[in-house]
């Protein structure tokens, strides 16, 4: 299977482990990722809130590039996905003369791509080391499924795709109500007080639901939760010890990919203890 691939900037910086694990997992599953040549910023930074034209033009250029290849565009970063998806919808009615995009290729988030039947079956068949006994809370954040009229997500209150993937590799995905609540990722610098409250809620509720770790599919969520946890623990006296994974890392682990340990070393909340206890490292 071949698809176009838009990694976005995070996957080359703060979320390098997400990028590496994505590529490794896809390779193991026989999925060829065709990275857009000369891709540019998606506009999720200041551009989309400061310049209306840029908010559309930046993703539009990427979409035009994808359409040249002619394959659906898979995007792992939730923020990139959101910008590209907004552009996909808007351009359908109001095309930009600068970039030719006919709507022939569609934007897919990596989670949704991996959860489609064919890939899911490959994942199931490829499991070498089932994540038996690992209780995970799948956390989608606010950008992957919302707003539904942009994302077309059918089950935007209670998405299941990541849960299905986790079940496919043998993990136990807990039921909880905070899958799509905001983590405050966009307020990290401006309102740390709000962020602490939001991630505190997420961590408390994941724990209440019986989870031992969180699984994410968004670089902002992951880094916000992973970096915030220790400070929050200091402040509240609650030692969460709740590792925050990218779902691709856990897929990689279950598929027995060699790079897994290297990715996990980048985490601030070390998953070593948890994974060792489960016999997974």
């Amino acid at each position: 299977m071949r698809v176009s691939y838009y990694p976005g900037c995070s996957l080359e910086g703060t979320a390098r482990e997400y990028g590496e694990s994505t590529e490794a997992v896809c390779k193991a599953l026989g999925i060829e990722l065709e990275e857009l040549e000369d891709w540019n910023c998606c506009g999720a930074t200041s551009a989309h809130s400061t310049n209306d034209f840029l908010s559309l033009a930046l993703p539009a250029r990427n979409l035009a590039l994808a359409e040249v290849i002619g394959l659906d565009l898979v995007v792992p970063c939730a923020a990139c996905y959101q910008r590209l998806k907004v552009a996909e919808k808007k351009l359908a009615d109001n095309p930009l003369p600068e970039f030719s995009y006919q709507g022939k290729v569609k934007v897919k988030h990596l989670v949704d791509f991996c959860a489609q039947e064919e890939v899911l079956r490959q994942v199931k068949e490829g499991v070498k080391k089932p994540l038996a006994g690992l209780k995970v809370a799948c956390y989608y954040g606010c950008l992957v499924v919302r707003p539904p009229k942009i994302t077309d997500a059918a089950n935007y209150e209670d998405p299941q795709n990541m849960d299905e993937l986790m079940k496919a590799v043998g993990a136990e995905s807990v039921n909880w109500s905070y899958k799509t609540d905001c983590c405050g990722g966009s307020l990290v610098l401006s309102r740390p007080d709000v962020v602490r409250k939001l991630i505190g809620k997420l961590l408390d509720m994941a724990r209440e639901a019986g989870a031992e770790c969180l699984v994410t599919c968004c670089p902002m969520c992951q880094s916000n939760l992973d970096t915030g946890e220790r400070g929050l623990a200091r402040e509240t006296g609650r030692d969460y010890r709740m590792p925050v994974f990218y779902f691709t890392e856990l897929l990689g682990l279950a598929l027995g990919l060699p790079g897994a340990e290297g990715w996990l070393k980048r985490h601030l909340v070390s998953p070593r203890e948890l994974l060792s206890a489960k016999g997974l490292l």
């Binding site: 935007y156 209150e157 209670d158 807990v174 909880w176 109500s177 209440e208 639901a209």
Partner: protein, 1472 residues
């Protein structure tokens, strides 16, 4: 249309309370009514509710008598379980097409006893209990349902049944197994398949691949269940044979096809002989399948039944050798069925194939199965991938082969052998080489040394749909083996047919007509493998059955093809898989140990345990709902069940149609943030009604569905699916605020320690008595939080719910145990479809489009509408509107009134006076309802010993038609003059029995009922002996009362066909006009000098309607109508008489007193506007009421229109201690004026200071529009009212409670939403007509829910503001309703009086007048009696309802209630 073409009947669509009311009104006014209801019973939503607001009456208790009244009305024909398809025609003469769906139950025979539900094994979710409880496939929605006829919920045949070649009723036997009914299950299988033990073991079960359970987890282990139940039950005697037909049939071959045909032909009464070439019975079943899969013992047991049926077997007799076809016909065999199978193995066609050590799989297995022990090699190759290959492999292993390799030319996916078999072979040590084909058998010295093979790859699919194997050049290799078993297929050996006149196909099989299995020679049929080539056993069984039918037809001279088809029925309409159906693993059958498996031929699989089987069977999704297991047929003693009854298409002629199809609750899954459907403890309000209901799924205990624990903290979230444009429902559902308050209040009654919170938007308690109810709820501690809940989260440990909301300017989070979503009222797609079918216009929300001055008239002339389908509303408004719609139909059809109703003729009443009592007693078994507990024969024996009992009988169902006939016959033959029935309950059945004895010439009051079901067998189910004794007691009591029962007289009193209407406002005029149009004379009395009332001060409606134009037109019509006598400036001063015959004095404007006679009266004296004392009203000219503001706007008042700031203060004089009611119309008035001001002067700032904005139903759109237009709505608390100071400008100051900030407005104009007051002459009119007032001075209706336009006294009605505050639209509707109600009296020539009424013993009466005081109907009055010379009580029989209050209250026992006199009561007490 000429009036002679007019049809005097009306179709009412919808059997909820609206439809019922409309039907009753029309039926009582002389029209025939068809009441069409989609569900199996009438009652609608109201039946599902627990209590009703604001009186907390039990909904079912007040509804139930209406159901009975409607259901039993001679002029109402119930068409339940029916659907209106289409209408054509014109007003007065429509043709309506109605689909009457089959209940599969004959309603004439069904007695409603309910035994069928006990027998039914299929349980599905109960719609009536909103999915919180279950019901059976044969069901009645609820206990009190009318009609009480049961219904079978039958969808299409499920895929499992459709897939089974033999049509075995899979769902049926699986359902029976799930209930532990093994014998019944086994019997059901044997209907279609005589050999369940055999097929249960060997069938490759195509049914399982179609089983819809696979969509949830894995298909059901259907085949294993069949195996289980066959073994569990063992052999069964065959069902009874038909009489011998004296015709002979020969069957050639005793395989599954032959045996099946033999079995069914023998049952048909034919003499069957089976000719079998082999020395054993069973064909391939015997010689093809090894012992470890199908023990010979089982085969023997199951085929034994054929011998019991008299089938003769001739073994070792080969056709063509030992006997010929011609010979068979010569021997008088009328028909022959050839089912010789396909036993000859196909050759590989490779070199070396003929050497020793190469055997055919079929030969190898035959040899083995005939009791020999064929020699096997050490290393064996088996060629082929079918079941024969696998059987040979596994047998070879058991016979000592060290290694067995299966060589198959395609891959696993294409392998025809069943998965289980392949797995078992692998487990036993076999090896499989895929994509390999043999090219040569290598032999040395004549024996096998190896198999030379070539590798294959898969190419394009071939004709079989499987990918074609293509040899890979140069890939040859050799497998060293010393034996080769070939199993690549078999062909039939049909050499014996040469020259017999029977054609063969190219494939060397017998050529037959696939539909009939007839060969080219008449009388010869063929089926099974010899026709199809090697197939599966169940297909052979199917062929045997097909041949049976053909042979029967052939021998009986019938057409072979007629009515038969090879096509599969559709199975599209299947039960939906319940959301959240839990995954349950498929049961795994145990096997014997692997050591035993490879060393012996013992049966490998051990069968299910009972527990396993029941659990596995319970996984069935019951796709067809009814499984057609026919247990109900067996259980029904009345023989009412008939699974073949079809739907009926009716075409009815009706003059008019009333649509009252109701609504559906909003589906809260569309508002995902509340978690409904995901969180166990979030329920809808309708579900909560069922939770509260004593007859509900939890027997009235307040439990939460998730864990059945008592919740402590319950929250209601309002406006779910209402006032929400995001989901397209911009309107207010009108009823949710009140039902939520009621639910909270009732929950509190159930458990006083509950914490109850209602999160609301505005509390819309605008109806009569609602505000006080709301205030009481607040006082009782129910917490009201004005906030929209933004999200609901579930806690995973406790399954409690966290609600987020904003209050006091802060985000709050609060935990609750249970959350109730107050879901709105919606029009479901099926109603929108109906509207489209009949061409009806709907409004933007899918409700029926109507005009505000004619709210019951749909866009189709002659088609009227009422209830929620017109607009969201509660019960009394629905009832009112239903009567109004009935008036619409009735007015239209007035010329045809009475043309289609039937007057029943009765024989003259027999005079029984002077006869000694001759009592007939009928004791009912009620199926097993009574008979299963009470010893009925003993009660009958006992009753026979009672004095005056002439005959006593027991009946299976006393209410059945044949028993009714019997009862009449006994009355006549034995000269019975009293009848006692001991049965269910008088509630539903007393009128039926009274009717019966009346038809036999007895006075109906000579009937007495003993309630030995509801009050005996049902309550003493476990004390049979004591129950029998009690039944005897009850019968004795009834008999002793019967002994002294007297016939009661009913007299017909003539009715004056004229009406009095008091009040000349909109409602009075509308009522007068309505009655006049129905053909009655009307006296309209108005105290003012002009007609018009309050409406003269209203110019437009909120919706924009021109009130003055409407009013002008109305006045003109009223004034010009020849049947209306208008008395202006006049007043009613006195009224006397009773229903049908009133006499009223009117003082006219000239002072003259006129006396008018009338049969009914309508009070419509309107209301008044409150003159405020607050907010400088009357002191400052800039302060006015909202009505005055409207007048000024209409007159383009400069001051008003040029104002910079205009303020409207709401709830002035309403919702106060003194007037604790909502004036209902002021919010519309404020919104209307605000919008108008903004329209005329967009620069103006308009402020509305309010407590709750109560723009219910579609008025909500205007409230939204006002906000969008910029009108500022500022809330205030009643404890902190706005303050107004006079000055240069009016200074208005108000505190906004959620901000906690003061707002100051410099107003130029201040309008006050002043209260609506009751009319000032309310007390006078109340006295004249003895009509009560409520605590606020408005007139009090007979029942706030179900009789909203009737007074307690018969013949008196009310409408308009006199009843309570309401809009013009509602006043018109209520006036029309009053017309309809009055017509039920005026349209009759006479009314019946007497019967069970009070009678006064004048001698005893001392004229104290207590009776007059207590009589709720004004039926008892003190009058001067000339003879006695004093005042005594006089009963107006026409007004008396027989309630008995006067009799019970009379201090001197001077009043008796006829039929319930003291002597009768005491006689009964003495008998006890």
């Amino acid at each position: 249309m000429t009036t002679s073409d007019m049809i005097g009947s009306v179709m009412v669509v919808g059997g909820g309370i609206g439809g019922i009311q409309a039907a009753l009104d029309l039926a009582e006014s002389g029209y025939k009514v068809y009441l069409v209801e989609e569900s199996p019973a009438i009652g609608g939503r109201m039946a599902q509710l627990d209590k009703t607001f604001p009186t907390n009456d039990c909904s079912m208790c007040i509804l139930s008598p209406k159901l009975v009244e409607c259901g039993r009305h001679p002029n109402i024909e119930l068409l339940t379980y029916s659907q209106l398809l289409d209408i054509e025609g014109e007003p007065g003469n429509f043709k309506a097409k109605v689909l009457k769906r089959s209940r599969y139950i004959d309603p004439k025979k069904c007695t409603g006893c309910g035994e069928c539900t006990q027998a039914c094994p299929v349980e599905v979710m109960s719609e009536f209990d909103q999915g919180l409880g279950t019901r059976k496939a044969i069901y009645r929605p609820y206990a009190q349902a009318f009609p009480s006829t049961f219904t079978i919920d039958k969808k299409d045949r499920p895929p499992c049944v459709q897939t089974c070649p033999a049509g075995v009723n899979v769902q049926g036997y699986v359902a029976l197994i799930s209930k532990g009914k093994f014998e019944e299950a086994c019997k059901l299988i044997r209907e279609e398949l005589p050999f369940p033990g055999i097929l249960g073991r060997i069938c490759p079960h195509p049914c399982e691949s179609e089983c819809r359970r696979r969509l949830v987890d894995e298909p059901l282990a259907i085949c294993d269940l069949k195996w289980f139940v066959a073994d569990k039950v063992g052999t069964m005697p065959p069902r009874e044979k038909k009489a011998e037909k004296g015709k002979k049939v020969a069957i050639v071959g005793s395989g599954p096809a032959g045996l099946t045909a033999a079995y069914y032909l023998a049952l048909e009464g034919f003499q069957v002989t089976v000719f079998e070439a082999l020395p054993v019975i069973g064909g391939m079943l015997f010689v093809g399948i090894p012992e470890y899969r199908l023990p010979k013992k089982i085969l023997g047991q199951e085929t034994e039944v054929l011998e019991q049926l008299g089938v003769e077997f001739r073994l070792n007799t080969r056709l063509g050798k030992d006997i010929s076809l011609d010979e068979l016909f010569r021997q008088d065999y009328g028909a022959v069925f050839i089912a010789v199978g396909a036993h000859r193995g196909q050759r590989l066609g490779v070199p070396g194939e003929d050497c020793a050590g190469v055997v055919q799989g079929a030969d190898f297995l035959r040899d083995l199965n005939l009791g020999n022990r064929p020699k096997v090699g050490t290393k064996v190759a088996v060629v082929g991938g079918g079941n024969v290959a696998i059987d040979a492999t596994r047998s070879a292993l058991r016979l000592g082969a060290k290694e067995v390799i299966i060589v198959y030319r395609r891959s696993r996916a294409e392998m025809p052998a069943s998965d289980e078999e392949v797995e078992a072979a692998l487990a036993e040590g076999a090896k499989i080489q895929y994509l390999v084909a043999p090219v040569e058998v290598i032999a040395r010295n004549g024996s096998v040394e190896g198999l030379r093979c070539i590798r294959m790859e898969l190419g394009e699919p071939d004709a079989s749909g499987r990918r074609r194997p293509i040899p890979v050049p140069g890939s040859e290799f050799t497998i060293e083996v010393d034996m080769v078993i070939t199993a690549i297929g078999q062909v039939p050996d049909l050499s014996f047919l040469a020259g017999s006149g029977i054609s063969l196909t190219d494939r060397s099989t017998v050529e037959v007509d696939p539909l009939t299995l007839a060969t080219s020679r008449p009388g010869v049929f063929a089926g099974g493998d010899c026709h199809t080539g090697p197939g599966i056993a169940i297909e052979a069984v199917a062929a045997g059955k097909r041949a049976t039918e053909s042979i029967r037809r052939y021998l009986e001279g019938e057409d072979l093809r007629q009515g038969r088809t090879l096509e599969r029925e559709k199975s599209e309409n299947l039960r939906e898989i319940p959301e959240g159906e839990a995954r349950k693993p498929r049961a795994e059958m145990a096997s014997i140990s692997l050591e035993r498996r490879t060393a012996t031929f013992d049966e490998v699989r051990l069968g299910f345990t009972e527990d396993q089987a029941v659990r596995e069977a319970s996984r069935c999704l019951e796709c067809g709902v009814c499984s057609e297991c026919l247990q109900c047929v067996a259980a029904c003693k009345a023989e009412a069940v008939n699974h073949r009854l079809g739907d009926q298409l009716l075409e009815l002629q009706v003059g008019s149609i009333i649509l009252a199809p109701g609504y559906e609750a909003f589906d809260p899954k569309l508002k995902g943030e509340h978690g409904y459907g995901r969180y166990q403890n979030v329920v809808t309000s309708l579900e909560f009604e069922r939770i509260l209901s004593a007859s509900g799924p939890y027997q009235g205990q307040v439990l939460r569905p998730g864990d059945k624990k008592h919740p402590k903290r319950i929250a209601w979230i309002q406006c779910v699916g209402s006032r929400d444009t995001s989901i397209g429902n911009g309107y207010c559902s009108s009823v949710c605020c009140m039902y939520a308050i009621k639910e909270a209040a009732i929950a509190r009654e159930h458990r006083p320690d509950l914490d109850l919170t209602i999160f609301y938007n505005d509390i819309r308690a605008f109806g009569k008595g609602f505000e006080a109810y709301y205030e009481n709820a607040k006082k009782s501690g129910i917490r009201f939080v004005k906030s929209i809940v933004s999200g609901v989260k579930e806690l995973q440990q406790s399954k409690n719910l966290l609600l987020t909301y904003v209050a006091d300017g802060q985000v709050q989070e609060e935990e609750f145990d249970l959350v109730v979503l107050s879901v709105g009222l919606c029009i479901p797609p099926r109603l929108r479809d109906m509207a489209e079918r009949i061409g009806l216009n709907l409004n933007r929300y899918g409700f029926c489009q109507t005009d505000e001055f004619e709210s019951t008239q749909s866009s189709l002339p002659g088609v009227f509408v009422c209830g929620v389908f017109q607009s969201p509303k509660d019960i009394p408004e629905t009832v009112m509107q239903a009567s109004a719609a009935a008036a619409g139909s009735s007015t239209l059809l007035a010329p045809a009134r009475g043309s289609l109703v039937k007057e029943k003729e009765y024989p003259p009443e027999r005079d029984v006076s002077g006869e000694p009592p001759r009592i007939g007693v009928f004791v009912c078994h009620c199926g097993i309802n009574i008979g299963g507990v009470v010893d009925v024969p003993e009660v009958v024996e006992y009753a026979r010993t009672l004095p005056n009992v002439v005959c006593c009988e027991e009946n299976l169902y006393t209410c059945s038609q044949d028993t009714q006939d019997r009862m009449k016959q006994q009355i006549q033959e034995l000269g019975l003059n009293r009848v006692v029935v001991a049965s269910c309950t008088p509630r539903t059945h007393e009128p039926l029995f009274q009717e019966t004895i009346k038809e036999a010439g007895l006075n109906r009051y000579l009937f007495t009922m003993a309630n030995i079901r509801d009050q005996c067998s049902w309550v003493h189910m476990r004390e049979k002996e004591a129950a029998t004794e009690k039944a005897k007691d009850l019968v004795r009591i009834a008999v002793s009362r019967s002994r002294i029962a007297e016939p009661l007289k009913e007299t017909a009193l003539a009715v004056t066909p004229a009406a009095l209407v008091v009040g000349g406002g909109v409602s009075g005029m509308q009522a007068a006009l309505g009655l006049a149009r129905e053909g009655f004379e009307v006296h309209l009395v108005e105290k003012e000098k002009t007609l018009g009332g309050m409406a003269r001060r209203i110019f437009v409606t909120l919706e924009g309607g021109d009130v003055q134009a409407y009013l002008k037109d109305l006045i003109k019509k009223v004034s010009e109508h020849p049947s209306i006598h208008v008395y202006i400036g006049s007043e009613v001063i006195e009224s006397s008489g009773y229903v049908g015959n009133f006499l009223t004095k009117i003082r006219t404007s000239s002072g003259e007193v006129v006396e008018v006679k009338h049969g009914a009266a309508i009070v419509a004296i309107g209301g008044e506007e409150y003159k405020p004392t607050e907010y400088l009203y009357g002191k400052d000219p800039r302060v006015m009421t909202s009505l005055e503001l409207e007048e000024k706007i209409a007159n383009k008042d400069k001051v008003v229109l040029s104002a910079k700031n205009a303020v409207i203060i709401q709830c002035v004089g309403s919702r106060e201690e003194a007037r604790n009611y909502c004036s209902r119309v002021c919010c519309d008035q404020a919104v209307k004026c605000a919008l108008k001001l903004k329209e005329l002067n967009p620069e103006m700032n308009v402020y509305v200071l309010y407590r709750d904005i109560r723009t219910y139903a579609f008025k909500e759109d205007y409230y939204r529009k006002a906000r969008e237009t910029g009108v500022l709505f500022i809330r205030y608390e009643p404890e902190d009212k706005p303050r107004v100071q006079s000055g240069d400008k009016l200074r208005v100051e108000v505190t906004e409670p959620s901000l906690g900030e003061k707002v100051r407005i410099e107003a130029d104009v201040l309008a006050l939403g002043a209260a609506t007051l009751p009319p000032s002459d309310n007390r006078a009119i109340s006295q004249i007509f003895k009509a009560s007032l409520d605590e606020n001075g408005f007139f009090l209706e007979a029942h706030v829910k179900l009789r909203p336009v009737d007074f307690a006294g018969d013949g008196l009605f009310l409408c308009g503001l006199a009843h309570g505050p309401k809009s013009i639209e509602e006043s018109i509707s209520q006036a029309e309703a009053a017309v309809s109600r009055a017509c039920t009296i005026l349209s009759k020539k006479s009314i019946q009086a007497g019967g069970v009424v009070s009678s006064v013993k004048l001698i005893k009466c001392n004229g104290c007048g207590v009776c007059e005081l207590v009589c709720p109907f004004g039926a008892v009055k003190l009058e001067y009696n000339q003879r006695l010379g004093r005042k005594v009580a006089v009963v107006t029989e026409a007004s008396c309802k027989g309630c008995g209050v006067c009799a019970a209250t009379c201090p001197s026992s001077a009043i008796d209630l006829k039929g319930f006199s003291d002597s009768e009561i005491l006689e009964m007490v003495d008998a006890l």
